[in-house]
Symmetry: C2
């Protein structure tokens, strides 16, 4: 019965991830998580004392899946061109594996912004100024890029990667897609987005 510990705990986390990601903290039910994991509800409390702590585990896992790669975009020393061409497709691929994750994180951040503030403070992220901002600034100073606040560009890049997943139902209805078409749309996006965004910052 040694392996069972990790097996049960893993089943719980996986089920909790599914439910929390789709329904958020308020919409999630402990019973539903237990059912999805195929175990008794008391087990959830046996391994994770409370709904709050189970949620905390899922939420931290979620942050761990988006932010490291995000940081590597922000902090890369590479020229922006290579940086974006490499990381945008990789980032979209990462999100594709957990399509509900961005919406989940954004919704829970809106519900409780202090959590993020505290986490950032407790982890002690010194939050150095992103190098990509400096790169953009340099390109502008040299007259290669158009004059737009680097922060605006940065947010636009993130928006372009993340938004389609957050707005999937809307996009599907607006453009008349089924799930397969939507998947093709995302794959196409991986290819075309770097070109579009880079073209956006370059001077004519």
């Amino acid at each position: 019965m040694e392996q069972e510990i990790t097996i049960s705990e893993e089943k719980i986390i996986e089920a909790a991830r599914n439910v929390f990601h789709r329904k958020g903290f308020d919409g999630a039910r402990m019973q539903e998580i237990a059912d999805e994991a195929g175990i008794n509800k008391a087990m959830l409390h046996y391994y994770f004392r409370s709904k709050d702590q189970l949620f905390e585990a899922v939420f931290k896992e979620a942050l761990g899946r988006i932010f490291p790669m995000l940081l590597s975009i922000l902090m890369s020393d590479e020229p922006i061109e290579e940086n974006l061409k490499k990381f945008i497709p990789a980032y979209i691929d990462t999100i594709k594996k957990h399509p509900y994750l961005p919406g989940f994180v954004l919704h829970e951040m809106t519900r409780n912004p202090e959590r993020l503030t505290n986490m950032v403070r407790s982890v002690g992220v010194a939050s150095a100024p992103p190098k990509i901002l400096q790169q953009l600034q340099k390109g502008m100073d040299e007259g290669r890029y158009i004059a737009i606040a680097p922060e605006q560009i940065l947010v636009s890049v993130l928006a372009a990667c993340i938004f389609p997943f957050v707005a999937k139902p809307m996009v599907k209805v607006a453009l008349g897609m089924d799930d397969e078409k939507f998947d093709q749309f995302i794959n196409q996006r991986k290819e075309q987005l770097p070109e579009f965004l880079l073209n956006g910052i370059k001077k004519k």
Copy 2:
């Protein structure tokens, strides 16, 4: 006591809007809405039979506040240049007045995609192919725009407008902003976004 009807009903809708927009259906509490409206909880049921119907009213109101303007972007006959330069700032202004609205709508759509499908079907939106897509296609055929699927551009434009509000807590932390700085950021965005996006589709 004639005027009281509309006054109470208006107070309820306003309170419900505040609470639903911030917390979503699952996180909202009828008692909290009643408190925020400063009236008895039974009044909510007196005017709107159930939580579901109260939510429905708020949700439809929300759709009514985003989609008409969205449609006018999609369906405009104007050249894209003028279209975007005019509507992006106007759209951002609209969202600024109800900053929690986009996140609310997106979250509730994820929670229950059928609702949207049914609404669209029931309203009988024939969902004609957006003219802006044709405009983009034409520009590409004429060699003025770079070769990128018009749908990708369209989603990027929407993403650029909407995402900052959905991700406000994240943006604030990542870029070290307080609420005032964030507001300035949005105002700056209104000015710079059309330029950036138009530059993105134009050939060198």
